[in-house]
């Protein structure tokens, strides 16, 4: 057994359907979600991880609707007693801003920038790795050496260099994340494609006159999806940590944006006096990252079991 999960989604059993009513499409989507949930429920690890992730996604999405304080409004009075109170459930930060609001709004930063970085990183990395592996020869040599060089570089120094030169912005954070996501993904994909391209179905595609582009992205890459999706889940968590690190080093989004890394940085000066100001954002960061990692573990577990 051991191969990829042989459970097919109900959605791909038929050929692409003709136009359907929106109600029918909704039922179909709901069915798909219900199916996915039943699939995930078979693994406790994945269920728990997905619950953690879903909690933060919901928090990020609902942030404007929730009855929260303004995350950048300053409440000097609260600084007299910055601990959790009925008014400020998680207390306030060193500048007197509500912690709960900042953490909930901070989830939007983490969950906004990480998917963009991971998605872009995967598009570029998969393409690079696939092309290098499929063509081989000098293309592969150049691409592989480039990957080695970037991966050998002290990445953090590279980020700081990049961001201090061009200034902190969401785009630059994504660019910094890409610098480490792309080579890692390219290397992973390259290995998978190198193995896949020796399979006979690739020779069969060549014999029916398929173009290299078709073979690479229609015949080969979809078959690498298992490990790639697995890696993507783990990389989500990793990228959130990276964004946190950038915020902590002061090269993340500029204040007063509610960014978890930045919050921890601001709390370091008062860590011994008011430790909760650092602990709460740390817990937020940790639960989200653990959530993604557990989802990755759960998927691996499910695909091995099936």
């Amino acid at each position: 057994m051991g191969k990829a999960a042989p459970t097919s989604l109900p959605a791909d059993s038929g050929a692409s359907p003709a136009r359907r009513g929106s109600a029918e499409r909704f039922i179909r989507l709901a069915g798909l979600v219900a199916y996915a949930w039943r699939y995930v429920r078979r693994s406790g690890t994945a269920t728990f991880g997905l619950t953690l992730v879903a909690f933060w996604v919901a928090a990020a999405l609902l942030a404007p609707l929730l009855p929260l304080h303004d995350p950048i409004a300053i409440d000097y009075a609260a600084l007299n007693y910055p601990y959790p109170t009925l008014n400020h459930w998680l207390g306030v930060d060193p500048k007197g801003r509500d912690m709960l609001a900042r953490i909930v709004w901070g989830a939007r930063i983490a969950l906004g920038l990480a998917p963009v970085s991971v998605l872009c990183g995967y598009v570029i990395g998969c393409a690079l790795g696939t092309v290098a592996a499929y063509f081989g020869g000098w293309i592969d040599t150049v691409a592989s050496r480039l990957i080695d060089v970037i991966l050998a570089f002290p990445v953090l120094v590279l980020y700081i260099l990049l961001i201090t030169t061009v200034g902190p912005s969401a785009l630059n954070i994504v660019a910094a994340a890409l610098m480490s996501i792309v080579p890692a993904v390219a290397r992973l994909t390259r290995g998978l494609i190198l193995e896949l391209k020796t399979r006979d179905f690739v020779a069969a595609a060549q014999l029916r006159g398929e173009s290299s582009l078709y073979i690479m992205f229609v015949e080969l890459l979809p078959n690498a999806r298992g490990p790639v999706i697995l890696d993507a889940c783990a990389r989500f968590g990793w990228t959130i940590v990276l964004i946190g690190i950038l915020g902590f080093l002061g090269v993340g989004l500029p204040p007063p944006t509610p960014d978890w890394g930045g919050m921890i940085r601001e709390a370091t000066n008062v860590l011994l006096v008011w430790p909760h100001m650092a602990i709460f954002p740390c817990i937020a960061l940790a639960t989200l990252v653990i959530g993604f990692n557990l989802v990755a573990d759960g998927i691996a577990e499910l695909s091995n079991r099936a």
Partner: protein, 681 residues
């Protein structure tokens, strides 16, 4: 039966834990293996024979367990034994030889260490003594230069040498019983014959008992005294080798024997078994084989559990209620050869095609020592329209490389491949015209690799048809037609490859190749990865489509029986050279070239009364490799320096048969001394 059996199974059932209960893989197996016997356990994949072996060794893993019955070794029950005692038994009384020698040798350890580790750990020998024993054992398995062999690593040995080392490893602790799980499946025919001969002689020398587990009926017929046939987790027939092969009574045994190609008339329709092996745990009332059985009688065969009975003289037992009624002639096979269109004019001409692989090997890639590997050296022959041209040879003879050059997956260094007046030897597939691509299509060896796991059967066929220029509105109809041609039910079109059996995958691969309407179908070992009964069905299908489309098949195979069955003409290759080329009937009846002679002599007949006498190959140093005859170093009919120095001239043995040798056809009529491939049963 006064002696204690070495190995004794009593009502043994083995099950695997699965979601929602357990699945029985082996059911109520009862038989004895007597001392010094060669026992053959035969069955197709999924019949439970490997599970039985693993249960015997106590290697069932976490999910498998013995649910009922017992296995005992020399009267001691192995089932309840604790881990320590079991380990002692495994080290000293049972040994196992696995199918893939590379997988049972540790690549990071020298041969010497691997050989001595076990016996030293079990306290059989001291380390120094173990080393002497290891050298002795390596000599015993006829490995030259045993002392130096001890310091080598597994990757430095050939497949045959590795399997000899594994056998030496099994023998060094002087076990009473050796389990051999497909011991020669990955080896070439000539190496297989030598390894089997070796095992037989070691059996005599050390008095061990052998339990062969194999799907190869030829092997079992040649080397075993007693045979059990397994199907669906049960023993369906058990008896002496003569009982099983000369007087088979169970319909499954009979079907297996009847569908072997190579015996009887060529190109006849092989009586393939319908249906598939039952999935483990499938609830079949009565006889497990019932759903596929031609002798099935409703009400009789499916009413009650069928037991193993002994209705005949001797110790021949059959699990079939109708065994008394089934006898005499084997299942009828259609006598009519599958041929309506006879071969005609030459279609593809191959002139001096050469391909050399250069492998640069040097420490750290600093100083590349170039080594050239001749994959194809000056091939000359032609393929006719509507014929089956077989290319036979051992692994590494260059037959697959030739197939790749023909289809454009590789290009030749020199020579010409002429089709329709054009030379295509150096045109890779990506530069071939659509029409040329459609001319050559290919069926590959491994059914698991041949289909893209992401696409459904219908999607794969649609794509192939579309690339062959079929208009969009005809696609659905043509997919239906193709599925019908390869005799697959239409509903399979929606399935992805993981939900297909090996035979079904291979049918889809044939349909995909046919989508282009090729005039040449290159089949690279098309059935070697399939079970015997499935092989027959695919062979029939290939001959059917070849005939109805008046297509040329270039069959690449090491299976001499299959080649004899299918081929009109045969090209025999050795080390990239054509050594003989002629009509299949002539090549098989009068193998002229010494290599053809060796190859055919090593065949394992599925008939215990026609023992294999494999001609041993010589092993001498070739003074100038690359010059002279390619077979000079291994030739049992070596003449002298002329063989090393001069390329052998073509010798026309008849107007349809050419071979390359310094001997004349008259000289070669003299027979060679042969060695028996096995101890006499």
């Amino acid at each position: 039966m006064s002696t204690t059996p070495i190995l004794s199974y009593r009502e043994l059932s083995v099950a695997y834990r699965a979601v929602g209960g357990s699945v029985e893989a082996v059911r109520a197996v009862t038989f004895d293996v007597e001392p010094r016997q060669s026992f053959g356990l035969v069955g197709e994949s999924g019949c439970g024979k490997s599970t039985l072996a693993m249960a015997t060794m106590g290697y069932l893993g976490d999910s498998g367990f013995i649910s009922h019955g017992s296995v005992s070794l020399l009267g001691k029950d192995l089932v309840g034994m604790d881990a320590g005692a079991l380990r002692a038994v495994r080290g000293s009384q049972i040994a196992m030889v696995y199918q893939d020698p590379m997988a049972s040798l540790n690549p990071a350890m020298t041969i010497g260490r691997q050989l001595t580790e076990g016996p030293v750990r079990h306290g059989l020998f001291a380390r120094r003594e173990a080393r002497e024993q290891a050298i002795e054992m390596l000599r015993g398995v006829r490995l030259a230069d045993a002392e130096r062999m001890l310091d080598r690593y597994p990757h430095q040995l050939s497949g045959g040498q590795q399997q000899r080392v594994v056998i030496a490893m099994a023998l060094i602790a002087r076990p009473k019983l050796i389990l051999l799980d497909e011991p020669t499946t990955g080896l070439d025919v000539t190496v297989e014959a030598a390894v089997l001969d070796l095992i037989a002689s070691l059996k005599e020398r050390f008095g061990v008992t052998l339990l062969y587990i194999s799907h190869n009926l030829g092997l079992v017929a040649q080397v075993c005294d007693r045979v059990a046939i397994m199907y669906g987790g049960e023993i369906v027939e058990i008896g002496s080798v003569d009982d099983i092969f000369k007087n088979p009574r169970h319909p499954y045994t009979r079907a297996l024997l009847a569908c072997l190609p190579g015996a009887g008339e060529t190109r006849r329709r092989l009586p393939a078994l319908p249906g598939q092996i039952p999935s483990p745990g499938a609830a079949i009332p009565g006889c497990v084989f019932g759903p596929r059985c031609g002798e099935f009688h409703a009400g009789l065969c499916d009413s009650r559990p069928i037991t193993l009975e002994r209705p005949f003289l001797g110790d021949h037992a059959v699990r079939c209620v109708r065994s008394r009624a089934i006898s005499g002639a084997m299942p009828a096979s259609s006598p009519a050869p599958l041929r309506r269109v006879p071969p005609s004019s030459p279609l593809v001409g191959i002139e001096g095609v050469s391909k050399t692989y250069v492998s640069a090997k040097g420490p750290f890639g600093l100083k590349p020592a170039y080594r050239t590997v001749n994959a194809n050296a000056g091939l000359d022959f032609e393929a006719n329209r509507s014929e089956v041209l077989a290319i036979v040879g051992e692994s590494g003879s260059g037959k697959s490389t030739f197939a790749k050059i023909l289809t454009g997956l590789e290009t030749a260094d020199e020579g010409k491949i002429i089709i329709g007046g054009n030379d295509i030897a150096r045109t890779p597939a990506r530069r071939r015209s659509r029409a040329l691509l459609k001319t050559f299509q290919m069926v590959f060896q491994n059914p698991d690799d041949t289909l893209n796991p992401s696409f459904s059967v219908a999607a794969a066929l649609r794509r192939s048809l579309k690339k062959a220029g079929v208009p969009r509105r005809d696609l659905a109809r043509r997919v239906h037609e193709l599925l019908a041609v390869v005799r697959l039910p239409q509903e399979l079109g929606d399935r992805r490859p993981y939900r297909l059996s090996g035979g079904q995958k291979q049918r889809v691969a044939i349909a995909r190749a046919l989508a282009a309407g090729p005039s040449v179908l290159v089949c690279d070992e098309p059935v070697s990865a399939l079970d015997v009964s499935v092989q027959a069905a695919i062979t029939n299908l290939l001959l059917d489509v070849q005939d109805s489309n008046a297509m040329t098949i270039i069959l690449i195979s090491h299976d001499l029986g299959l080649v004899q069955h299918m081929a009109d003409r045969v090209v025999v290759m050795y080390a990239g050279h054509v050594v003989q080329f002629g009509a299949a009937r002539d090549v098989y009846s009068r193998p002229q070239h010494p290599y053809t002679e060796v190859l055919l002599s090593a065949r394992l007949n599925p008939d215990p009364r026609r023992p294999t006498h494999a001609i041993p190959m010589a092993r001498r140093e070739s003074p100038a490799p690359g010059k002279g005859c390619c077979f000079a170093a291994r030739c049992p009919r070596y003449i002298g320096p002329v063989c090393d120095a001069e390329a052998p001239p073509p010798r026309p043995a008849s107007d349809r048969n050419v071979f390359y040798c310094h001997w004349s056809p008259a000289d070669l009529a003299r027979p060679l001394p042969a060695m028996p491939a096995s101890g006499s049963p």
